[in-house]
Symmetry: C2
DNA sequence: AAAAATACTTGACCGTCGGTCGAAAATGTG
DNA sequence: CACATTTTCGACCGACGGTCAAGTATTTTT
């Protein structure tokens, strides 16, 4: 039985992210939880940063894989609808797997470092998917943007940015208005029909 | 001559931010540069974070003060034009004072922590000013937003977010398209006339 | 099968850094 | 002057990310 050490490290880190405050996610703790020596951790990863980023990246890739396997190939579903489902699977994180959704856990952490990694990874992993959906929407005639790549980037950036709840008013009315604005912003970016993204604030 | 220690600490920190990589901005270095003991630093500030944040906040406040003293009271200037000047004074940072513009220096640092502080401070310090300009624009009839507070927040967030150049493509064409999009986003947020924010990408 | 080379594992150790603390110096007060 | 209060200080602490020499396991070579 050849245990994959890298996998052990991932698992241990994810568990720590689920359980612990960011300050308790130390390399020593990761090594201990993984049941290996600290030196081994550094044999497989160059730095702690690299580990955390790899975990974040992995989570997004899992969500993307999930999207293409279960949602993207649905017939009779518009690309705007698919976009909605993609965002939901990321934002709401209610697609329950055995292992609880890492993206959700990650977003709960207030550490700026983690949020930066989330932002970078979102642009890297999610924006291309949104871009592809935009091409499909353009073919369908529901989206009319001339610059799909840039639009996808801006949309993903805006959405992930506002997921970082650490810095904004929690007042329900303001949050509602904010989401309304953001849905308008998305319509603007996509040149989609008015109301296309109302689901962002209409569904709880 | 009663030297204000807090001011010494500010000055020292700003100098370090101008000169050094983020990793070299240590509390020891700040104390040394300020010519006081490390203990004294902690007599005036609770933590290093608090120092850095105070410096960021100070920079924004200075920009805001500057704006109200030199720009806001200009007659014959529309509030959209004033908004432009406000953004320029922050983004382009070319209003030369004796002391070089701290906001510019701050933005050059790639550290996520610093950028997070910049984002928080921008929402805190700049958004209210934009909100006020929006009320004025509404009175003028150039802005028609129903939710000035939320719009101001979103606008400031989007702009500061995209100032963090660490994560986006630097391709000139893409940057141009992105800025075009953002100007459209701003028009959407403000319900302002099409083209109101073209200056964001037309002026170099 | 033995020897040599390579891949992997380990935890004690290191340097750095943010933050503390108790004692001393300075300042204020009556 | 005596006493209390504020300010100053740097040695010290604990924690953390990262290194390394010294091993052990595994594969390759002969």
């Amino acid at each position: 039985m050849k245990t994959d050490k890298k996998e052990l490290i991932f698992k241990a880190t994810e568990e720590l992210i689920s359980e612990a405050a960011y300050n308790d996610i130390t390399v020593d703790a990761i090594a201990k939880k993984a049941g290996i020596g600290k030196g081994s951790v550094y044999y497989y990863f160059k730095s702690k940063d690299e580990i955390i980023y790899a975990v974040v990246e992995r989570s997004y890739r899992r969500a993307v894989r999930d999207f293409f396997e279960n949602i993207h190939n649905r017939p009779e579903t518009s690309s705007i609808e698919k976009m909605k489902l993609l965002f939901h699977s990321i934002i709401k994180c209610d697609y329950s797997e055995n292992e609880k959704n890492m993206l959700h856990k990650l977003n709960l952490h207030e550490d700026p470092d983690i949020h930066h990694k989330i932002n970078v990874a979102a642009i890297q992993e999610i924006a291309p998917v949104v871009e592809q959906l935009m091409y499909e929407g353009i073919a369908e005639g529901t989206i009319h943007s001339q610059t799909p790549k840039e639009s996808a980037e801006v949309i993903v950036a805006v959405l992930t940015y506002f997921l970082d709840r650490t810095m904004y008013s929690e007042d329900p009315q303001i949050m509602l208005n904010r989401m309304k604005l953001i849905s308008e912003v998305m319509e603007t970016c996509l040149k989609a029909e008015k109301g296309s993204f109302d689901y962002l604030y209409k569904l709880n």
